[in-house]
Symmetry: C2
Subunit: 494 residues, 2 copies
């Protein structure tokens, strides 16, 4: 999850100006439109300490009209609050219709704090997060829009932030008294954070996961997420449209090329033919053993293959199927849905192909189509693909709970390598069928896909079902990486 | 909860004919309209054994076009199903858009079965019911309407049903093998059932709780609930309205006077002046002690007073406040909401008045207005008051979890007694201000209010926060019943 939020995104001051100015204007305009229509918005600013949450809240107050914003910094609790049911403190701070309530320190703080407990009570947390979901659902049903921003920084940045700010804090010893605790517990905090995000990343109130190392970047990214959500809110069905005209369609300036999680993949990785032979034999033999063992123990496994066009999915899958007895696996390939499939929930066509215990299912493209091609090609609405992260996590949770071993591969190649392969396909008679005009069209949207892959990894790479980003420029390396990962996953589970 | 479902409702065969015929016609018509617009519906038929679930499903197939209905009786599980994640069996049975899927034996069966376990694992059940809610939410977001019918019969009826059907069952020993188990566990089954209903009675997929002793009644009541839900589905925002015209507005014939939960209140109960004096002194003294003790132990208590106009709420409350030190309680009276209150969620104006630990809050009218006056006067939409049951239960759960002692009173009087009191008010100068034209108008809707009270008790009388139905024709009796109940609740909690 968080690996996609430590890629080094930043904006120069000049770029910040270029994008901040129109953003500010449009935020303000949208704020007034929401006010005119009596539509309330709640902004939750959450994340690890030292991620600049306070500064972001300040920025939002600068960018918008503070008369319509109420900022609630709930970091110390009065005895008035302590002596009433916990949510009382939030109920009394809810913004009225037409206004914006910003919560710095929210109903998520209490859940995150459990990371500091000696023995975090995960049953209690599950119960509490259910109350959080119920609370948000109630507000959404009542016409509120809840925008949840999660700001993430790496451990080192957190340390720096907390140290740099230390002098100010000495003026008030109560502020930051916990800093050291938080920093020490950082790995556990991330685990709890992932748990919280997964359990509360609902269709009605999805999380926006933001990389927060760079102040310029995080503020623009947060502002843009907020603007988009506020605009969606104006469009929601059932909202009174009589007043004040239509939604401003002006797009905000495009996101400049930013470092992406895919940039962390080492595309120079390669393997000599010789070494490849040896490793291929070794891992195929191991996979064969393991798949029989899984069969005997009635455990099933599922491998998901996604990746760029021409990344080598097909040939990698063949190396996997080559190692497994045909009686033990089922390979399913997904293109456009059939009529019958279209008449059901989009997950239906994947559920129907789950093999029984003791067998493997290999997915050549998968349910991730919803947040990749369907998102980029606008075959799914923003609401549909945004809530799909949660739907997918719930689906995979059920698989894993049942005992399925799940591995997910994104085979990554560079655009240059893709171009080389496209040309090669065009020039090789028996490969020409593999290259279509659609491949070239998809290539034009490389940037959009990169962004979609990044969000996908951020939202769905979980402890239970992590993504493996495969370095695919060298096909031999890619195949071995996949076989090895599969063997390791099976080995750990059996 | 279930006390409101054991009142003896029934329909004669003639009445069944009179109401069944138009109902059938309209169900069929609505089914075709849903099909024309590709809108899918899921009907869950749940409840205790022996409640006639199978017969109801048969009836629905007779009333509607079985070509558009798929009935899934999931009572035996194949090894195909057992060897996949649990929800796989439901996913593969989901109806495509435009069709109706009836589930006899559904995702609720597994949760209810835990009542037969020696040590029911409530943590597991909470986790499982979260998956149930997530599953339903996913389908609702995708355009499904889920109609959940809970059929209830009392223990004696269950025994008869299971005995009468025994001869048929001998032909197949696997059917009914569990009957005895279920019947023996009946009280525990009801506890688990309440737990299930509370946790899954969501705004998107609310439960319809039906009294099922009488076959005619339960089938008409279920048919009417289904018809209403299907019509609502045609109206939902965002649904394509191009095809097939508007929703049929023909109302189904009115519900004939049926026994109600309020009929179970013994309105002849009374108390002599002498006994009243003694008991009043006794319980007021006890309440005074208990309220101080609660204060010392930092426990708060909340009493909710609802009831018919002229039922004697005011004078009963005065007997309560007369017993408590004014420093220890706050009495809040609710009429129409203020502008500021209207600009928030309807629960906001109650949350704001919750007193702190160690103090009492007395609510003269309360959050139940949502499902009483606002429902009957159509100040809240059906969606709003239907989801309010769940919102109220969640709210009260938080109060009780925090340690609040909660008591809820509905003061019941007969319509004749109300009439007598209205006339008395008109004729007594110092009481004239108490009677307004609105009281007379409300009186005309007695029947609607009765129904609303019944649904309210069915949905919100829980183990943690039960309703007390107060016999109010004799004011002395009512006051003592209230004081006694309050003392008992405090005594048990402190």
């Amino acid at each position: 999850m968080f690996e996609a939020l430590e890629t080094g995104k930043f904006l120069s001051d000049k770029e910040f100006e270029r994008r901040g100015a129109p953003l500010r204007q449009q935020l303000l305009k949208t704020q007034f439109e929401l006010a005119a229509r009596d539509l309330p918005v709640i902004v939750v600013v959450a994340g690890v300490d030292g991620a600049g949450k306070g500064r972001l809240v300040h920025r939002l107050n600068v960018w918008m009209d503070p008369r319509g914003i109420e900022t609630n910094a709930l970091w110390m609790h009065s005895d008035e609050e302590e002596s009433r049911p916990y949510f009382w403190r939030f109920w009394r701070k809810l913004p009225p219709r037409g206004e914006i309530g910003v919560f710095l320190g929210s109903w998520y703080t209490r859940a995150l704090r459990t990371a500091l407990d000696k023995q975090p009570d995960s049953e209690w947390r599950a119960h509490y997060l259910k109350q959080v979901n119920d609370f948000e659902r109630m507000l959404i049903d009542d016409g509120y829009r809840i925008v949840k921003l999660w700001l993430h920084v790496g451990r080192e940045t957190q340390r720096q932030q907390l140290t740099e700010e230390a002098p100010q804090k000495q003026q008030n010893p109560r502020v930051g008294a916990d800093d050291k605790l938080w920093w020490k517990a950082y790995p556990k905090v991330l685990q709890v954070a992932q748990d919280i995000i997964l359990q509360t990343d609902t269709g009605g109130a999805p999380w926006h996961l933001l990389e927060a190392e760079d102040r310029n970047y995080r503020e623009v990214a947060a502002g843009e997420a907020l603007l988009q959500a506020m605009r969606d809110h104006l469009q929601r069905p059932g909202v009174d449209r009589r007043s004040s005209g239509t939604v401003d369609p002006t797009p905000v300036p495009a996101d400049a090329r930013q470092p992406r999680v895919l940039d962390t993949v080492d595309c120079t990785a390669s393997l000599s033919k010789d070494k490849y032979r040896k490793k291929l034999n070794k891992y195929q033999a191991r996979l064969q053993d393991l798949s029989w063992r899984a069969h005997r123990e009635r455990r099933s496994f599922i491998a998901v293959f996604e990746g760029w066009d021409a990344a080598g999915k097909g040939s990698a899958i063949r190396r996997v199927t080559g190692a497994i007895d045909p009686r033990l696996y089922h390979l399913v390939q997904y293109a456009a849905p059939t009529d019958e499939e279209r008449a059901h929930h989009y997950l239906w066509r994947f559920w129907r192909n789950i093999e029984r215990d003791g067998r493997a299912t290999l997915f050549d493209r998968s349910w991730y189509g919803r947040v990749l091609v369907e998102r980029v090609e606008e075959l799914a609405s923003p609401g549909e693909w945004q809530r799909a992260y949660n739907e997918i996590n719930l689906f995979e949770e059920q698989l894993v709970e049942h005992g399925v071993v799940l591995a997910k591969f994104w085979i990554h190649i560079t655009p240059e390598e893709q171009l080389r392969r496209f040309h090669e396909r065009e020039q090789t008679p028996h490969k020409q069928y593999k290259i279509t005009p659609e491949d070239w069209r998809n290539r034009d949207k490389w940037h959009d896909y990169e962004r979609a892959v990044e969000d996908m990894v951020a939202h769905t790479s979980t402890r239970h079902a992590p993504w493996t980003l495969v370095a695919g420029n060298d096909k031999r390396h890619a195949r071995i990486q996949i076989l090895k990962t599969l063997c390791k996953a099976l080995d750990a589970a059996l």
